[in-house]
Symmetry: C2
Subunit: 204 residues, 2 copies
Amino acid sequence: MYIHQLKHNIPNSSFYLMKEKLKEHIEKLIPLTDDEFLFVLSHFSFEKYKKNDFLIQQGESVKHCYFVVSGLLKLVYDDKDGKQHIVSFAMEDWWESDFSAYFTQTKAKMSLQCIENTSVFSLSLKNYEKLSTELPKIERFFLKKSNAGHIASQNRIISFLTSNAKERYEQLLKQYPLLFQRVPKTLIASYLGVSRETLSRLSF
Amino acid sequence: MYIHQLKHNIPNSSFYLMKEKLKEHIEKLIPLTDDEFLFVLSHFSFEKYKKNDFLIQQGESVKHCYFVVSGLLKLVYDDKDGKQHIVSFAMEDWWESDFSAYFTQTKAKMSLQCIENTSVFSLSLKNYEKLSTELPKIERFFLKKSNAGHIASQNRIISFLTSNAKERYEQLLKQYPLLFQRVPKTLIASYLGVSRETLSRLSF
DNA sequence: TTATAATCGTGATGTATGTCACACGACAAT
DNA sequence: ATTGTCGTGTGACATACATCACGATTATAA
């Protein structure tokens, strides 16, 4: 009985921590009063997914963008030959979606799938717009996030332009040392744009 | 004498057209009253550059971002071996800068240089912030632009992940058919991430 | 004009990386 | 225990691409 209660309490207390995570994340860029944050939070829904679950499926419509509270996801593009290409890993504290499909309300060009069990706050486009309109502050937050995303993508392009497979691997290793204990090398290879065999042969 | 007057009038009438270009560009995304637009415009300065001029030099601080009214620029990353890599072409109607350096007030990692004679509206960070604060509408405009830029960069990454040199060339050709009459193939090659010799050998 | 850059193509050759095949251990499901 | 799937390494070979070298043409500047 006591154990039962505990079991029931865990999700609640963990939800409290989740909220704090989102709040702290936003407040790194813009200050919010408690009321403002509760207003913000009311536009999100908290969701849990298991390893291999899809949050977005290529070809389907994209209703939400996601803030990753815990876990790990991959944003994947499947080409015509059925090969998988990892456009991005989405880790804790990241915002992810197929933003093109999300904002223009078109079909997803990419999938978003769990590499680990993952919990997220999800935000519908309608709520995104409502939030932006009613709390202009948050629009500044999204703008900063978008800029950061743009810059990150540009750096990845520069990496492709200037570096070979080994150098790109080293850059990734330096940028996200934690990643390598969490994901199989096949996925790392797919992110780097090389075959898993080539990656395996790179000597360090 | 009459010719003299004409000469003096050209810049003025052309400046009028420039303003219209900016106005129409913004109004594709958000409506503006005439007064609002004049307020917006007052934060910009209009500048003309000649072929090969630098708007941003790698290693220097970045004071402005630019809206390209006419002409053509390249955003270039020079690697340690002195090789040039084109991160982006900036054509008419594009916003460009080393945004990372611009927003974080650090030294430029890239250069922005004219491929053709170019005229721009330039916006200082201070004015960017003033404008965003005093006219929240414009913040939504910048957000939409930033999202679009992010998505464009992500598509370029997908192109690197999924396609070989020839396919990337064809994609670029399809996306910007006009570009190929305006810039030497060496620059196209540099944008695609292949040597100019390889590009030259691709058969079409 | 003449001289000096750019630009572009193309051969010869080297190298990075892809592809196919196979083996082996870790782990999961039954 | 048994079977299967997944992750990983590695050999053999094919291929895409880089690099170096040379000419030829076309702009550009003195």
